[in-house]
């Protein structure tokens, strides 16, 4: 059985739209370019493809419609009847049949014209054939137009039908119009049915869901039924009748005891009797509604008689008041009914066959009932009822609840002494873990250690280090000398290292151009005297040597110690004067901030290539 989803049927287009859709699809999805100079086979193929494609599209689209609309014979008789009532079975079937025929005819057209196209001898001929084929298919569709429109209407209405499951637990509410059926359903479910004072407020079936014993129950509200023969009933009443007829549900027949619906109890009883055959095999409940307006006791005798008669038909006599009670009773009755039904069916046997309760085989016929000694029984009777144990949960609730209280796990510790339970156990001391030292015989170990220490210390005291002074100490002057030696060594090293690093970049200046005056005679004298030699002889020799070069020097020139080189001047005074003159000459220039020879000049302040001409890319609003 195919599953239909009545809410998800594709939209049925009108005839005109249908044609448009199919033709535009053909145009888009098939090649469009053809020329009369192409090979004839190619032309034929081109047009045949178009015809076939159109047929295929028609086929596909009509096929989906036909498949998606439910076959009235395939679905549950309740829905079948419902749709018959709403849409007229014959009309529906005819419409679908028309679509089927259209599909077949389109196929036929396609076959015929493809046969003809095989023998088309020019582009013009083929094109005409194709035009004819497509044209005939489209006229067909036009003829089917009204069916399509009807089916679209049906689809729209079907999508809004309430989703009633005919097989599940259902409660059906019926009765005269305005007796309070919709109010009841509003009360027990979340359905929001219109409740108005005029009759036939509810015009179609409404479904609500409610719960009982952890199960979902459908509650179906029907439009009111009037008392006249079946043939005279209108569509709306037929809905209720259909529901009553096909759904196996608990039926709640509502009686309005106050008569505010406009019908007397007698009329309602008459209705009851006339639709009694519909209640076959269904658990029935007679509900007296609107008892706030008139209670049961204050009813006149005949009316009460009538109600009692109705009740006799119902399989139980109940006078409970209250909406919930009614619901509960109805549910219970239906459950029982369904269980009975299941018990009688074959399914039960299947289940029974699979269950097996193993009972031990008795070895003899002796009875062995459970034995409780009399003393125990007496004690049990005598003992006072035990107070409930104090649980951890009670403790938690007392001390602030779940988020506040945290259980003290220490209460359950097993220790040698109970008073140790709340101890704060140290873990670390002085950079060591206490757990690494813990030992039950730590004291014994400690004693051993003490003994060892004793021995060691005795051994130590025997060998005092007296012999560490076997070599003599250096005297303070010797130490001074040692320090000086070390310093000298360090200096040599440093100098060498510096020299090494700058070796490549240091110029080799001969000693006579000694700018830093490191090789003067006074220095030499000092150095020699530090070493302990009398320097006077060496100094004299050095000076005399320099004095010997009289020819290269002017008279009076003495290489005075500490004197500066003259650079060609007669004396220092002359040199000073020359420098002063030089500076003076510059003063004026500097004061007037004039450019000198040594100052940087820009030859061309406005080079042409920067200040004129267009740019190949970009703007020239900045120069």
């Amino acid at each position: 059985m195919v599953h239909y989803n009545l809410k998800r049927i594709t939209v049925v287009p009108t005839g005109k739209d249908f044609v448009d859709i199919v033709l535009s699809r053909t145009q888009r999805q098939t090649p469009t370019v053809i020329h009369k100079s192409y090979a004839i086979n190619r032309i034929r193929q081109f047009y045949m493809r178009k015809v076939k494609y159109t047929q295929a599209t028609f086929d596909e689209k009509l096929g989906t419609i036909i498949d998606e609309f439910p076959q009235l014979d395939d679905i549950h008789p309740f829905y079948g009847d419902l749709m018959n009532v709403l849409y007229d079975r014959d009309h529906y079937k005819l419409a679908l049949g028309q679509l089927r025929t259209a599909k077949r005819l389109v196929e036929k057209i396609c076959k015929d014209y493809v046969k003809l196209l095989k023998y088309g001898d020019s582009l013009y001929r083929c094109k005409q054939l194709k035009k004819a084929a497509l044209g005939r298919m489209c006229t067909l569709m036009k003829r089917v137009g009204p069916s399509l429109a009807y089916l679209e209407q049906v689809r729209q209405h079907m999508a809004r039908l309430p989703s009633i499951d005919p097989n599940t637990r259902t409660i059906l509410i019926c009765g005269y119009p305005n007796v309070g059926k919709s109010s009841f359903i509003n009360k027990i479910t979340r359905a929001d049915v219109d409740v108005q004072p005029y009759a036939f407020t509810t015009k179609s079936l409404f479904v609500g869901h409610t719960d009982y014993k952890y199960l979902r129950w459908q509650v179906i509200d029907t439009p009111g039924i009037l008392d006249h023969p079946l043939e005279d009933r209108n569509t709306i009443e037929m809905l209720s009748i259909t529901a009553l007829a096909h759904i196996r549900a608990a039926v709640l027949f509502f009686v309005d005891v106050s008569g505010s619906c406009g019908y007397s109890i007698a009329q309602q009883a008459a209705l009851f009797n006339s639709i009694r055959p519909l209640f076959d095999n269904k658990p029935l409940l007679v509900v007296c509604s609107k008892i706030d307006l008139q209670s049961l006791e204050s009813l006149p005798e005949e009316d009460r008689q009538l109600i009692m008669e109705m009740k006799k038909e119902a399989s139980n006599t109940l006078t409970e008041e209250g909406v919930i009670n009614v619901k509960n009773t109805a549910c219970e009755k239906l459950l029982q009914h369904r269980v009975e039904g299941k018990m009688k069916s074959k399914k039960l046997e299947d289940v029974r066959n699979r269950i097996h309760v193993a009972m031990p085989r008795p070895r003899d016929t002796r009875e062995r009932p459970p034995v409780i000694p009399a003393g125990v029984l007496e004690a049990r009777a005598a003992a006072p009822p035990r107070a409930p144990r104090r649980l951890e949960k009670d403790l938690e609730n007392e001390n602030g609840g779940a988020g506040v209280y945290s259980a003290n796990l220490r209460r359950r510790y097993i220790l040698a002494d109970e008073s140790w339970k709340e101890d704060v156990v140290p873990e670390i001391a002085d950079g060591h873990n206490i757990a690494d030292f813990i030992d039950t015989d730590i004291l014994k170990r400690l004693d051993e250690l003490d003994r060892e220490e004793h021995q060691r210390q005795e051994g130590e005291s025997e060998e005092e280090d007296m012999d560490d002074d076997e070599f003599r100490k250096l005297s303070p002057e010797e130490q001074e000398a040692l320090a000086a030696i070390r310093l000298a060594r360090r200096n040599i090293r440093e100098e060498h290292r510096l020299k090494k690093t700058t070796a490549d970049s240091r110029p080799m200046v001969p000693r006579k151009h000694d700018k830093d005056k490191r090789f003067t005679v006074s220095r030499m004298e000092r150095h020699l005297s530090n070493l302990g030699i009398d320097p006077s002889a060496a100094a004299a020799r050095a000076r005399s040597k320099s004095r010997g070069r009289k020819r290269d020097r002017s008279l009076g020139y003495d290489e005075e110690d500490g004197a500066d080189a003259m650079d060609g001047f007669k004396d220092s005074a002359q040199k000073q004067q020359a420098l002063a003159l030089g500076k003076k000459a510059m003063k004026k220039r500097n004061k007037f901030a004039r450019k000198g020879e040594a100052d940087r000049t820009i030859v061309n302040l406005r080079p042409k290539h920067l200040f004129a001409g267009k740019r190949s890319t970009g703007k020239t609003d900045r120069r």
Binding site: I414, A435, L449, F471, E477, I485, G532
Partner: protein, 168 residues
């Protein structure tokens, strides 16, 4: 909470310090600081790195094994809490670390024994070798003691007229 030992330098790792590296074979390496961690990443062998405890123990710079070390041992089976035992342990720990300190000091003393003599010998040798840097051989001949020479001549540091620098 446990104080761990650094895998590289064997110092204690206090909570909140250092890093832990878990290798694919589930061996755990704990480091006290990034210095040790970086050395480890460089695949240096702590036995060859001078400043680690392992090196020092291996090369006889520190007390290598002792009963005090054996008293501190990681026990894998937890003992049931006993207040008296813990009290005794805490007291014992103090005593143990004191003895350990003493023993280490003694070890150091033993190691350094004879150092003074050697040092003096070396100093004398250096003095003898290098005396020529600070004392001229002639002076040494006159005065053979290994001391700085006496100032032979006071060099007249004449205050010459400060001629201004010739080169500005």
């Amino acid at each position: 909470m446990r104080l761990e030992k650094c895998w590289f330098c064997s110092s204690t790792i206090y909570p909140g310090h250092g890093m832990m590296y878990v290798r694919n074979d589930a061996k755990i390496f704990r480091f006290c600081r990034s210095k040790c961690h970086k050395n480890f990443k460089m695949k240096r062998n702590p036995r060859k790195v001078k400043w680690t405890k392992i090196y020092r123990k291996l090369h006889g710079k520190e007390l290598p094994q002792d009963t005090t070390f054996e008293l501190e041992r990681k026990r894998n089976r937890p003992e049931r809490y006993d207040r008296n035992v813990v009290e005794d342990t805490v007291k014992a720990m103090k005593k143990i670390s004191e003895t350990r300190v003493e023993r280490e000091a003694q070890f150091w003393k033993n190691r350094m024994r004879g150092k003074k003599t050697q040092q003096r010998r070396e100093d004398l040798a250096e003095l003898q070798q290098g005396i020529h840097l600070v004392k001229a051989p002639t002076a040494l001949l006159e005065e053979p003691s290994l001391t700085l020479p006496k100032e032979k001549m006071k060099v007249k540091v004449s205050v010459e007229q400060e001629s201004k620098a010739m080169e500005s």
